[in-house]
Symmetry: C2
């Protein structure tokens, strides 16, 4: 039962996104990413390494048929795989074993999730038919007892759940649930949902606090938040209990992963040893974000989902602490998190190097998951601000403007030469890559973008919350209220004008409109007769609307210079440029090479000038600045002379559009002249 | 035969160092480092991991006795060691096998070299007796055929010289020669020198361009320059020929190391694969400094030694190219080289990160080797300037002021927290360490400091070159000239006044006095009747001196701000502070924490103020500057406001004295206000 503050996302079937910005992004996913991904899952992308994802499911189906036909005579292999990735002798003709990454099954689940979301916005019988056929294969791979992970179904079921730390059986469960719920919500078809429930039921029987059950928990979190989603869809209490158990067991002593991996010893201090998996302390005692950043924010999302449901104050307090630790000490201005590629991990407070950043696309997507769940509990604009920051900067940076190539890593400063010659920066790419062996970011982008509506809007019995200004039409014909085709128009992220129109008379309800933290004033019209209240960065507007009523909001989007907390060593003496929710950057294609030579005149005004990047019109910002003229003359070190500089017009482009015009230098933070 | 420009170092027996600065350093080595090192070689340092160095030699002596007594019945083990370091089951009671690093023998050779140098300055019969006894053991470890490396003598001689790339048999030969020559020069005792010649003779028989001989070359260079030293001492042409062969063979195709290690395949592009060992191209074709920095400068030193002897113009041209590549593109202002800990290696032009620098002490010592050899060929102050830069900054930084602890890595910016929490900086230490398992830097420092006279002075038939102003007395009673007790007094590195006095009438000769590149003017007195010429940064002064003649030189040492070539991204907008040859730095113990908040007022004058660091008086520099006052208030990102700052007096200390007052932040490059 939600209290008055709490809310939940609308079903995507209730929202039709029609937005100058997002419709195009969603079409890219629908037209480019989803079809490409399907080819990749089936190892049909010329030149790309096979994924073996559907191969594994199909092989499992065959093996299950053998199991059934041979009964007890079936000779089960004994599990002996060791490692993260398995390659057949002949990659083009794999035999009947498991291949690919240990978590390869999840690629299909992420794909079907994106397909589900996409179908809510754009019905596509052909795609749906492909999906149904694939679902049939996947469901047939499930064992009689409900277990479903082809790594062990093919490799040997004697060792299932014996390597929770490294193998991703519970991670795959989580993605299976997410995909199944999305597809069910979109199509009403429950074939995959029933399979997900059967696997979840098997896990419920296997794991739990009771004696004789396994007391382990996922090495890579996601099951926690996914089980909460399954609980919401099915109402089955056991899924909530399992999610709670996974949270409660995590980080307790003796450490489960130590018992599971005695070979690793206990050489590193107790807690550090388990940072990577956020398994160093019971979750309610965790003070700061640590370890693998994607795992971390997936865990925190699960914690927030459970806290919302149970009202557990210690769990909520932990979520708030972890949130604050991230956004006040460990987050790039682009919403990137995870400062180091070593373990794709959080490091320590204020350690935010620009040129060696990891800032994985998936981690920022996970930060959005966490933010949305915090908003569901507590509608404060600070959560929505950071959700929006992650979205319009690091998340979008992950995909090229043509939807055909992707970044895992989203640095804030790139010198292409260094990414090729300095091993410490080999993880940084200066051009987006076609696809990845470890295909996590592209499908994660696909499912996020396709479901953008569920981040923009949440509701409860009295209130419709608008967290992100994404245009569309909301039609709600069930539940305590009905919105008949409320139309939201938005110029975001480049124009701060928003209108909300009511094509029909609508009984009194509350609209909670986010007031972005990046603007210090706003105007609102059309509020005649409404009860207005500003609270925690939301404008609550209660009114019975008449046909053709229109509310107009305007958020000024002048270019702004931003300073960084000086405890971030790299950014002292530098500024960043933002406009609305968008962070800007310099590219050398506009500004000449050696970007560090440039500085911004912080007293000058910026001018907006539209330019075309990869066929897309975007507002660039032109700001007066300077280029240092070197007196070095080929020497490394020269006696000091007052710096000489020439005036230049610096052109900044939206960060997420960088690296769409070939390889070149990029920098977000620029010296202040 | 040297031409008029060429010169060679004086014998240390002809120089008695008496210097306000260097006598203390040499005494530290004599009193602290040499005795400590002897204990370490014998595994008698409480709490330190055993080195097994003398253990290995003693065990080899026993095994040789068995070989002799048992003749053909001796059961030679078959070599099977694989790796870099070998540890006995019980570290306190090793059995009769080889233990420690594969290059562990060289620890003794470095020690005996330092002992030899030290004895020239401070006779010590007790130390000499210990040395003689140890030499007897080492020489008795030699095989009948002259081979001497305990790794294979103990491990099995069937595989000697089969892993030139990784095992250090020829490296140990090089250090054996250096140690043997030094000890012979100091004491006249040739026991170790004869052993070195026998090993060198065995290598001459084994390696060479002739059919049937091994065509390999050292994986870790040093034999090249050492063989040249042996050639100079013995006059035996075969040592010159062997040095030439090692240079000529290096980098030719097919690559020797590929044939030696077919298991490694040829996956990386041809040349890159061999960068680490500078074996990517024939040495005369090498354009830039690459790979492991110590190996690189040891190789280039060998090339310079051979070029000087043979006059080979292509070899000289390569030396000049490689030198320029280092000092114009790949050297820190402290004379540190090797920007990355990954391979302890050079990276690419202008890649000089301050906080992840490697800048190994040994590499800067090697840069001094290279510089001295370039000076021997071509007396240009530019070589001496960089030799001096390396010496007074990175080299001295390697040792604590009390001589009891050491840095391998000499960064230009340190945040102690980052060195503990950021894996990318784990190689950076914020306090010097007692001793190292891989004991290369401390003994290298010991041999360098003890032989400082041979870097300060070189000579030829007509000229005495003064490259570094190190005080002492030069007495030369052999050769074409005699200097009877010329006394040089110097206030370096903190006072630029130098005097040279002649206690006796001295027949006409030329003094070549270096004019440091860091001062733009100088004064000289006492030149009456002299023929003077300035050339390539040296003042040539020819005169017959009378008793009590005195020449006085004065080089102004005002504090200077230095700018870096802006292609070094990290240093744009920053300045460094120097005074004479000494680079200065900020420490937070003087300036408060968060050093990046500080900036220097480049228009203000510096004031010299003596302070005491670890009991030693050093001139600090006090320069007006600013501390930025943050408006961040606990937030990571805040709207721009003009920077607020308070005026502060920044205190800079000599870089080499950093980290002598406990753990704290340090920075060489400081923002310019």
């Amino acid at each position: 039962m939600e209290n008055n503050c709490q809310s939940h996302p609308l079903s995507l079937r209730e929202i039709q996104i029609q937005d100058g910005f997002w419709t195009k992004e969603m079409e890219l996913v629908r037209r480019e990413v989803i079809p490409y991904q399907w080819e990749a899952l089936n190892d049909r992308v010329p030149g790309a390494a096979p994924s073996y994802c559907m191969h594994n499911f199909k092989t499992a189906v065959k093996k299950n048929a053998l199991r059934k036909s041979q009964g007890s005579a079936f000779r089960e292999p004994s599990f002996s795989k060791n490692g993260w990735f398995f390659q057949p002798k002949d990659p083009q003709h794999p035999d009947e074993d498991f291949y690919g990454f240990v978590f390869q099954d999840s690629d299909f689940y992420k794909w079907i999730e994106a397909v589900g979301y996409s179908l809510t916005q754009h019905p596509d019988p052909q795609l749906e038919a492909i999906a149904d056929e694939a679902i049939e294969i996947v469901c047939s791979a499930q064992l009689e007892n409900g277990y479903l992970d082809t790594l062990y179904i093919l490799g040997g079921t004697d060792k299932i759940f014996t390597n929770l730390r490294d193998h991703h059986e519970l991670y795959c469960l989580g993605h299976l649930i997410e995909g199944a719920v999305a597809y069910y919500d979109a199509t009403g078809k429950d074939r995959l949902l029933r399979t997900a429930c059967r696997y979840a039921d098997f896990v419920c029987e296997t794991f739990g606090p009771e004696e004789g059950k396994c007391h382990g928990y996922p090495g890579h979190e996601i099951a926690e938040m996914a089980l909460m989603r399954l609980y919401e869809v099915t109402g089955e209490d056991r899924y909530l209990k399992l999610a709670e158990f996974f949270l409660d067991a995590r980080g307790t002593r003796p450490y489960y992963f130590d018992r599971e991996h005695p070979e690793n010893g206990t050489a590193r201090p107790d807690e550090l040893r388990h940072f990577y998996h956020q398994a160093h302390l019971p979750v309610r005692q965790q003070e700061g974000a640590v370890g693998h950043a994607v795992r971390a924010v997936y865990l925190y999302s699960g914690m927030a989902s459970v806290a919302k449901q149970t009202g557990d104050p210690a769990l909520l307090a932990a979520c708030e602490r972890l949130w604050n630790d991230i956004v006040q000490k460990k987050m790039y201005i682009t919403g990137g998190i995870g400062s180091t590629h070593l373990g794709e991990a959080f490091t320590f407070a204020y350690d935010l190097p620009n040129d060696t950043a990891y800032a994985e696309t998936c981690a920022s997507i996970g930060l959005m998951f966490f933010a949305r769940r915090m908003l569901e509990m507590t509608p404060k604009a600070c959560y929505a601000d950071e959700m929006e920051r992650a979205l319009y900067n690091t998340v979008l940076s992950g995909m090229a403007l043509d939807g055909k190539s992707f970044f895992y890593v989203n640095p804030l400063e790139v010198d292409p030469e260094a990414t090729k010659k300095d091993e410490r920066k080999f993880h940084v790419k200066s051009v987006r890559q076609k696809w990845f062996g470890c295909a996590c970011c592209p499908p994660n982008l696909a499912r996020l973008i396709s479901s953008i509506g569920s981040y923009a809007y949440t509701e409860n019995d009295s209130t419709l919350f608008v967290h992100l200004y994404v245009g569309g039409q909301i039609t709600k014909q069930t539940g305590p209220r009905s919105f008949s085709g409320i139309v939201i128009r938005s110029g975001f992220p480049y124009d701060g004008n928003v209108s909300i129109t009511f094509p029909e008379d609508t009984p009194s309800f509350t609209l909670a409109l986010r007031l972005p933290g990046w603007c210090s004033s706003y105007t609102v019209t059309g509020t005649k007769g409404a009860v207005l209240q500003e609270k925690e960065g939301y404008l609550y507007l209660t009114k019975a609307f008449s046909k053709n009523d229109e509310i107009n909001l305007s958020f000024p989007m002048e270019p702004r210079l931003v300073k960084c907390n000086p405890l971030v060593r790299e950014n002292v003496g530098k500024v960043a440029v933002t406009r609305g929710p968008v962070v800007y950057c310099l590219e050398s294609v506009d500004n000449g090479s050696n970007l560090p030579l440039l500085s911004v005149d912080s007293t000058a005004d910026a001018r907006t000038e539209e330019i075309t990047i990869a066929g897309e019109a975007v507002p660039s910002l032109v700001i007066p600045g300077f280029r240092e003229i070197s007196s070095a003359q080929g020497q490394l070190y020269v006696p000091y002379t007052p710096p000489k500089r020439e005036s230049v017009a610096l052109r900044f482009i939206p960060y997420y559009t960088w690296a769409n015009r070939g390889e070149n230098e990029m920098s977000v933070w620029v010296r202040e002249a």
